[in-house]
């Protein structure tokens, strides 16, 4: 396993595009969060706004970049033919996939943690200017608050799970364009299509099983009862999606010629 991990780590760290994508994921996440925080006004929102969730809005965008990164980690091997060298060196295909998942997941987890810290810092600095002050019953964002800490740690894990989901999809689909289409379709189109369903009962059920809406439940710190699913249960749903994608990807990898 160790040589496999080392090989994957070398591949990831020596491709310029991957470094840029990691950087872009962090920057775009923090930028969208700062934009959301800067455009929120107490006069408009009133009391009871979930500031933690608002400050972590950037994850919605950052996950797209993370998905690209994870897809390219697999698809590039297929488009350049490296996959044949990889599988010749390490014929145990499930080990290759596991090593890829561990390395990509770990790297994204670290980048995600940095992005989340940036988001919280942006929210902490920007939100009071919009009127979200102690006078209006809002506390400064701080990792000392239990729910905020859970939301932050959970958001970093959310990004890592998105990477694993995309990795699994890419291993199954191989073509980078199709893989990213499937991955982002799962993430973004699910909630939009959910909004079209007329029955609120079914809407709630769909939100409970959609990877994005369920996974992002981890960010909620206000009105937890109003959420379609509990925070950790929601992240569990996303983890199940990621595991299923990796399983399908692993099967395809074993059964199909590279």
């Amino acid at each position: 396993m160790r040589p496999a991990l080392h090989a994957e780590w070398t591949k990831l760290r020596t491709v310029a595009a991957q470094i840029w994508l990691l950087l872009a994921a962090v920057v775009l996440t923090v930028a969208l969060s700062a934009f959301a925080a800067a455009s929120a006004r107490y006069a408009e929102a009133g009391p009871g706004l979930d500031l933690t969730r608002l400050s972590l809005t950037g994850i919605d965008l950052g996950q797209a970049v993370v998905a690209v990164l994870a897809v390219l980690a697999v698809s590039d091997e297929y488009s350049s033919g490296t996959i044949r060298a990889t599988l010749t060196a390490l014929p145990q295909r499930s080990t290759v996939l596991a090593a890829k998942a561990i390395v990509v997941g770990a790297v994204v987890l670290v980048a995600g943690a940095i992005a989340v810290l940036g988001c919280l810092l942006a929210g902490r600095l920007i939100l009071p200017a919009g009127g979200f002050t102690a006078a209006h019953g809002y506390q400064l964002l701080s990792l000392a608050g239990g729910p905020t800490l859970r939301a932050s740690v959970g958001s970093a894990f959310y990004l890592a799970l998105i990477a694993l989901l995309s990795l699994g999809v890419a291993t199954a689909v191989r073509s980078s364009a199709a893989a990213i289409g499937v991955a982002l379709g799962l993430l973004y189109l699910f909630p939009l299509a959910t909004a079209l369903v007329p029955s609120s009962h079914w809407q709630r059920h769909l939100e409970q099983i959609a990877p994005m809406t369920a996974g992002l439940a981890i960010q909620a710190t206000v009105n937890l009862r109003g959420q379609p699913i509990g925070p950790w249960a929601g992240l569990g749903v996303l983890a199940a999606w990621a595991a299923a994608a990796l399983l399908v990807g692993g099967l395809v990898l074993r059964l199909r010629d590279a």
Partner: protein, 531 residues
């Protein structure tokens, strides 16, 4: 001495390199890949399927009777003179006026009440019928509270009218036939500074004038109401519109206004000689506050009213674009296709053959964009042309009200949707030429076209969402908006309520600018870089 041989020249005639041939080549590349043609068909089917999902089995206001399942005109939404949906709810102190004449009045007070915490209504349509009791109200005047004089073709809702009024904060206004609004002097009214109003009829012509002292008059405007009958209902009116809520899921707050009129003087033939009070449109969908009515003591009238006389906005009914909410799913497929149409050439090395056959690279890009754009346009056109009537019919069958939309607007919505497909595909093509990486292109396309909607549905403040819909290619969705904005109606004109921050063609222009920019950069890079 050796003779210099002339260079070899083939005797074969040079092949034509015209643009038509290039188009034919690109079309062959597109339609011979079976997966791509299937993708195009799937994109169209998805849009139609989503239209069905979005409109099928929606709850209706009134139960359609089994004998007549198709409701032609919604019984609760009045129609204005030119067939538009209107709000027509106010308190009317009236009597008939025969032939020409005028009414002059002094308005000495305009005050109002605002319902306290209307509470969050259940989301969705058809919940706006509420009549809060006066005990839950606090003093306050709606900015568009209206009190003044009105001449109306009967007391029926939706009948033609002209009204001269003083508003809560928008001064004197002469409004007629619901959608028209002429601004007068920006004055307010109080006991210390009362205001005089005069509305006169002369044939089809109605003129409004206002004065600070009843001596020196300023004309506010004259309007022509074609086909006004000989006898009309004329008199005093008061109304006060609900306050728009900033959020989609809270119902608007009802308000009411009370005005004191005195020194009423009539000219012309008023056969009845006595005033009748009538709450026009009571019990309809417009949220009203308290009980309206009037009290006459001596020459003074105290009139209380609630509602509005204005074009209808908001969630009274459905719009045609309701059935096009699934367009983004089709766009996603088209974006993947557009990206593949270019990146596949690089992946397989076909680009070198293509550029050898047609060395003028700008023309290759143009041909690709034209072929792909036309194919996507055709798919979008068919999908929209099926979805719109389908959604229309499904909504009507369940007795829902649909905003009346002119044929021109409907054509714009359908053709605009088709153009969205074409532009999304071409944008993906251009990005594919620039990035050469399928994953990056698709991600960029999805983020640009779909993310603003996702964020809007999720947790972004409305103002941030509006900026995204101004600045990103998603601004192009505005071309699908069929509702009009009226400055004289206060309403939450937010994306969630069907109003885009940019006008339809302005939003479309933003998208076109993005596509043009991307194509320009793509053409430049295609020329500069090795294939």
């Amino acid at each position: 001495m050796s003779a210099i041989l002339p260079p070899y020249r083939s005797n074969l005639p040079a092949g034509r390199d015209d643009f038509g041939q290039l188009l034919h080549a690109e079309w062959t590349k597109l339609h011979t890949v079976r997966g791509w043609m299937i993708a195009l068909v799937v994109a169209g089917l998805l849009v139609v399927a989503m239209a069905y999902l979005a409109t099928f089995h929606h709850q209706n206001y009134v139960q359609a009777s089994p004998s007549s399942p198709v409701v032609a005109a919604h019984p609760l939404v009045p129609m204005g003179p030119s067939g538009e949906a209107v709000t027509d709810t106010f308190y009317f102190v009236h009597q008939p006026l025969q032939g020409n004449g005028s009414i002059t009045v002094r308005l000495s007070s305009l005050t109002g009440l605002i319902a306290q915490s209307s509470g969050s209504g259940s989301p969705g349509h058809g919940n706006s019928q509420s009549s809060a009791s006066q005990s839950q109200a606090s003093p306050g005047l709606a900015l568009w509270a209206k009190a003044g004089l009105i001449v109306k073709d009967g007391t029926r809702q939706g009948a033609p009218y002209a009204a001269l009024m003083i508003t809560g904060a928008h001064g004197v206004r002469l409004q007629y036939d619901y959608t028209h609004d002429i601004a007068g002097p920006p004055v307010a009214v109080s006991a210390a500074s009362p205001r005089w109003l005069r509305l006169s009829r002369s044939g089809d012509l109605l003129s409004g004038a206002e004065s600070a002292d009843g001596v020196h008059w300023t004309t506010v405007g004259s309007v022509r109401l074609a086909g006004l009958p000989g006898t009309v209902q004329a008199g005093l009116f008061v109304t006060s519109p609900p306050l728009a809520s900033a959020h989609a899921f809270t119902s608007p707050t009802a308000t009411s206004a009370t005005a004191v009129f005195d020194q009423v003087s009539l000219a012309g033939h008023w056969p009845q000689g006595a005033w009748n009070g009538l709450a026009v449109g009571a019990g309809t969908l417009t949220p009203t506050l308290g009980s309206s009515g009037f009290r006459q003591s001596g020459g003074a009238f105290t009139v209380t009213g609630s509602g509005d006389i204005a074009p209808a906005v908001g969630d009274v009914g459905y719009t045609p674009e309701q059935s096009l909410q699934g367009v983004f799913v089709g766009l996603l497929v088209v974006i993947v296709l557009g990206a593949r149409f270019m990146t596949a050439e690089y992946r397989r090395g076909l680009i070198r053959t293509t550029l050898t056959a047609s060395p003028r690279r700008g023309r290759v890009l143009a041909a690709k964009a034209l072929v792909l754009g036309a194919a996507a346009f055709a798919v979008g056109l068919i999908a929209a042309a099926i979805s719109l009537p389908l959604g229309d019919r499904l909504l009507r069958v369940t007795g829902n009200y649909l905003y009346p939309v002119s044929a021109l607007t409907e054509t714009r919505v359908i053709l605009g949707t088709a153009a969205l497909f074409a532009l999304a595909a071409v944008l993906a093509l251009a990005l594919g030429t620039i990035l050469r990486r399928g994953a990056g292109v698709v991600a960029a396309g999805v983020v640009l076209f779909v993310l603003p909607s996702v964020l809007g549905a999720a947790y972004l403040p409305t103002s941030a969402e509006q900026w995204l819909l101004r600045l990103t290619p998603a601004a192009g969705y505005a071309i699908q908006q069929s509702l009009a904005r009226y400055p004289q109606v206060s309403y939450a004109y937010t994306p969630a309520n069907g109003y885009f921050p940019l006008a339809p063609w302005a939003g479309f222009a933003v998208l076109c600018a993005y596509v043009a920019l991307a194509l320009g950069v793509a053409a430049l890079l295609l020329r500069r870089r090795d294939a």
